[in-house]
Subunit: 224 residues, 2 copies
Amino acid sequence: MSDRTGLREADNGHAADHAYRLIRDQILSGQRSAGEWLREGELAESVGVSRTPVREALRRLTAEGLVRHERNRGVQVQAWSVHDLDEIFSLRSVLEPWGCRLAATTGTVDVAALDALAHRMDEVAPDGRPTDVDQLTELNNQFHRMILEASDNSRLAGVVSSVIQMPLVWRTFSHYSPEALRRSLAHHHELVAALTAADPDWAESVMRSHVRAAWHSIRPGHDM
Amino acid sequence: MSDRTGLREADNGHAADHAYRLIRDQILSGQRSAGEWLREGELAESVGVSRTPVREALRRLTAEGLVRHERNRGVQVQAWSVHDLDEIFSLRSVLEPWGCRLAATTGTVDVAALDALAHRMDEVAPDGRPTDVDQLTELNNQFHRMILEASDNSRLAGVVSSVIQMPLVWRTFSHYSPEALRRSLAHHHELVAALTAADPDWAESVMRSHVRAAWHSIRPGHDM
DNA sequence: GTCGGGTTGATTGCATGCAAAGACGCTGAT
DNA sequence: ATCAGCGTCTTTGCATGCAATCAACCCGAC
């Protein structure tokens, strides 16, 4: 471990966290393909730390479902099927509308911030054609997370984000048609309106439409 | 580490798993009280392994929310408030009825096994007075888990069980009045009936009643 | 040619040592 | 008496070495 400092640029001082973020990013960005074995030694070297914090990072990723752990064999990147996607989206289509309903009643949601996010997404994807898919994804995640956190049920937010990891690998928005993406962005504005009006039924049903539309946009063979 | 074998009785061969189970049981059984600090060294000695597998066990427990991890300070048993209980039960009152609805439609649920469980619970708690709270809790968990696993959505089952840990600490059934417990057991039989009839609406609404009744039975100050 | 057994190599799992960070108590100054 | 500064001591975080495990290969027997 010679020039460790050279490799740990954005290190906030903690090897395990650093390793976790690096490995996670490699998986989410697709640099590590599904089924690929992640060797502790190799990762340790590439991250610039010893195997111990790498092992800790891999255990966290295992708990989050991004990788699979086999005893005495190692860790491999989780493989995903269409059925997994169906499970996740059917779960989301229950949880997110409910969370959105709660957010509409608590009144703690920051509608101005939501509105700003919706407009920034419009800019990143003018006319339904995204210029930067990663940024669009990030903005979208912020939008949804912000609503769930206003639901005043921290476990709900945690559960949804733990389940959502996989669609991130799938790079959701790259599967959208321009029309589907325009509709998705319109939903965001409608959600802002419903939350501003503090109408739980409206908010819930728009979110349900939003999630189910997304489901059909992503599902292979249904690119509408 | 002298006579390690003497301490590892039910060891299936793997130190980290062993440590995990032991520590987890200590928390769930109440031997470790909320807020108590869990020292790696002490745990390692008591389990009979080194600190490394203990650390791994503690990280798993952290991911499951049973303990809290503070950087460079250690791990302490998670403390629970009534608000946490509310969060969990409101989540359950959305997820479990939905899972029960799904189970009623997939037709993969083993109603005979469910019926057997319901009757065994009757025996363990005749006239709403439990003879063995732990066994009753275990049977109840099996009952609910079996329904969720028949929902054909593995993530749903995972999410619910991850969220349910805390009521286990609370030792749910010891808070029930005889009347509430009798009602709870009756719900189980009604659930079996609804699932046998494969009626999604019936199944869903019984489960919703069941969860919300449980909520009121447990909530401090609402022992009806 | 195929199958079984043993052997080698790679990799994980665990134990241990050391360094760094925080908590506590002491001392001294105000 | 109170509080800042300092040193010690406990505890965690990380690195490293070694043992156990698994996979793949090779070789010999049938």
